[in-house]
């Protein structure tokens, strides 16, 4: 069963902050949902990792030819904070 500690770990992995109240709420709701998900445990099929339906032949891949995007300025204009044509990121702590 999914615990509050699991939930905190998932929040860290997905970069979400939940208040204590929200944690309570999601703990209950995630337990219910995982109860439904757990039914898949009864299934017993083997996964084929070389499914031909998801494959294309090598020759179909995109040729290595440059084509320049015409609206780079638009991408920069969408940045919430841009300085010197670069996206501003607050201090990164490694």
């Amino acid at each position: 069963m999914i615990t509050k500690e699991d939930l905190k770990m998932l929040c860290d992995l997905s970069r979400l902050d939940l208040s204590e109240e929200e944690l309570e709420f999601y703990e209950k709701s995630m337990q219910d949902v995982m109860g439904l998900m757990d039914t898949i445990g009864e299934s017993d099929f083997t996964y084929n990792n070389k499914d031909m339906e998801n494959a294309v032949s090598f020759s179909e891949l995109r040729a290595d030819e440059v084509s320049t995007y015409e609206n780079m300025r638009g991408i920069l204009n969408n940045g919430p904070e841009v300085d010197d044509d670069q996206f501003v990121v607050p201090k990164v702590i490694d």
């Binding site: 998932l10 997905s14 970069r15 979400l16 999601y26 995630m30 998900m37 099929f45 609206n71 969408n78």
Partner: protein, 473 residues
């Protein structure tokens, strides 16, 4: 004559101009949208500009199936420089720098865009109530949900705010709101329509599809937007004439009824209406056979595991650095990303991100995600077996009619289980179309679904079209 064919004729005969037509729909939208909340953004300027251009092309003698026809577009499909929110705070003011491939294709035809329609946030939901914006309402009234996630598009067609619309369908998001609003909606075969410019929810399941008044109109739109796209590697190089079988006799064709879709949880009135449709087809000369999809019992869990896993990755890019909402007051990158995402995403989106992260995390991958991958392959086998026996499969589109607006909202399990009838088409990558087969005692529409094998989309349309033109409702 179908709505779009009729409009085509009027436009070509100059009985009406595209500008007049567009202004008419814009007027209806302005009258009804405050109550129904079908649109997040009305793109009046873009619409009128497009209509003028279409009129000029028509005057020059040009014609194309959708030239000058106004459409509504779900708000997760990018139109260059027009706000595309995915009904989320995190993209509240986002304007894409490029057009989705479907928009590029519609532009070539000369279609007109009335606006961007309301939906569940990032298409996550079956009621359209998870939107960050005003909650959309079923035009049949009774304070019911319009279904979802493409609720706005279904409402817009049902309430005559547009003649047709685009939605997207990851687990039933086109077909189920079409069913709830009494219109026709189709999810084509995975890979027939490019996903480029559709903001991803679950990449392996997402497919853009039309919502319209009839199956034939859905086919017209699909003919315009489908085809191999160099921007989407998963798009397939298969040319389909979606209306190629319209009008052809269905006598002697086989309809498969999978018993598992008529079990517990399916509303009796829904069941009755769908079985009446089965009788109709039998009387029309179809052979009705029983088929089986034993894996259906794993469908909902497999679907949510796959969809949420992909979603947790697809939605990781929203960090407040390059576009969209950026939380105030963050001093470090870590704070920025956490604050932006926590403030920017709604409750259901967060739940699905957590669920998907869990399904992929180390120690749980094999038990959840990998199992779901294996179940998906099993579904494809079962679909193959079914379509060796029949031409189409007939099922209800949803277990119930549209429910009340505040029902189910606190019970995600109940919400998820309601997707049971639609998710398998996405898991299997097969085409499926919803059309209206009746109404319950309260007057709420009931939908049936016709599913065909991969790339046999024209067959599903043929059956839905035959029903629409011949069934006495």
């Amino acid at each position: 004559m179908s709505k779009l064919l009729d409009l085509r004729k009027q436009l070509d005969n100059k009985e009406i101009s595209s500008v007049e037509l567009t202004k008419g729909y814009l007027k209806t939208i302005s009258e009804k949208n405050d109550k129904l909340n079908a649109f997040i953004t009305v793109t009046e300027e873009l619409a009128l500009k497009g209509a003028e251009e279409a009129d000029r092309r028509i005057a020059e003698g040009e014609t194309a199936p959708l030239l000058g026809i106004p459409l509504a577009i779900k708000d997760n499909i990018c139109i260059k420089n027009e706000r595309t929110t995915c009904a989320s705070k995190i993209l509240e003011n986002f304007k894409p720098t490029y057009n989705a491939t479907v928009i590029e294709k519609l532009n070539m035809d000369g279609a007109v865009y009335l606006g961007k329609t309301n939906m569940d946030e990032f298409a996550m939901g079956g009621s359209s109530q998870t939107t960050y914006f005003n909650k959309p309402v079923n035009p049949y009234g009774k304070n019911c949900v319009p279904g979802g996630s493409s609720g706005g598009s279904a409402i817009a067609v049902a309430a005559d705010m547009c003649p047709a619309a685009l939605g997207s369908d990851t687990g039933g998001s086109v077909r189920q709101p079409a069913a709830f609003c009494g219109v026709t909606g189709m999810k084509p075969t995975y890979g027939t329509v490019s996903r480029y410019g559709l903001v991803a929810f679950a990449s392996s399941l997402d497919q853009i599809g039309p919502i319209a008044e009839s199956a034939e109109d859905c086919g017209l739109i699909l003919n315009a937007i489908s085809g191999k796209d160099a921007h989407d590697q998963t798009s397939r190089n298969v040319k389909i004439d979606f209306n190629g079988l319209v009008g052809q006799d269905i006598k002697g064709l086989k309809i498969g009824i999978p018993k598992e879709f008529f079990g517990e949880g399916i509303d009796e009135e829904v069941k009755d209406a769908v079985m009446k449709a089965v009788d109709f087809y039998r009387n029309a000369g179809c052979e009705i056979i029983e088929v089986s999809m034993p894996t259906l019992k794993y469908a909902v869990s497999a679907y949510y595991l796959l969809a949420c896993a992909e979603a947790s990755s697809n939605l990781a890019r929203f960090d407040g650095v390059r576009y969209g909402f950026r939380a105030d007051g963050a001093e470090t990158y870590e704070e920025l990303i956490r604050m932006t995402r926590s403030q920017g995403f709604g409750e259901e989106v967060k739940r699905r991100i957590l669920l998907g992260t869990y399904a992929l995390s180390s120690g749980y991958y094999d038990a959840y995600y990998k199992k779901a991958l294996a179940v998906r392959q099993q579904f494809k086998r079962e679909y193959n077996e079914i379509f060796e026996k029949c031409d189409v499969m007939l099922t209800p589109t949803a277990p119930t009619v549209a429910y009340k607006i505040n029902e189910n909202v606190d019970d995600p399990v109940k919400m998820y289980l309601a997707d049971i009838c639609t998710v398998t088409a996405n898991i299997g990558g097969v085409p499926a179309i919803n059309t209206t087969c009746g109404f319950n005692k309260d007057g709420m529409p009931i939908g049936l679904s016709l599913t065909a094998k991969q790339f046999d989309d024209a067959r599903a349309i043929q059956f839905a079209d035959f029903f629409e033109k011949n069934f006495k409702k």
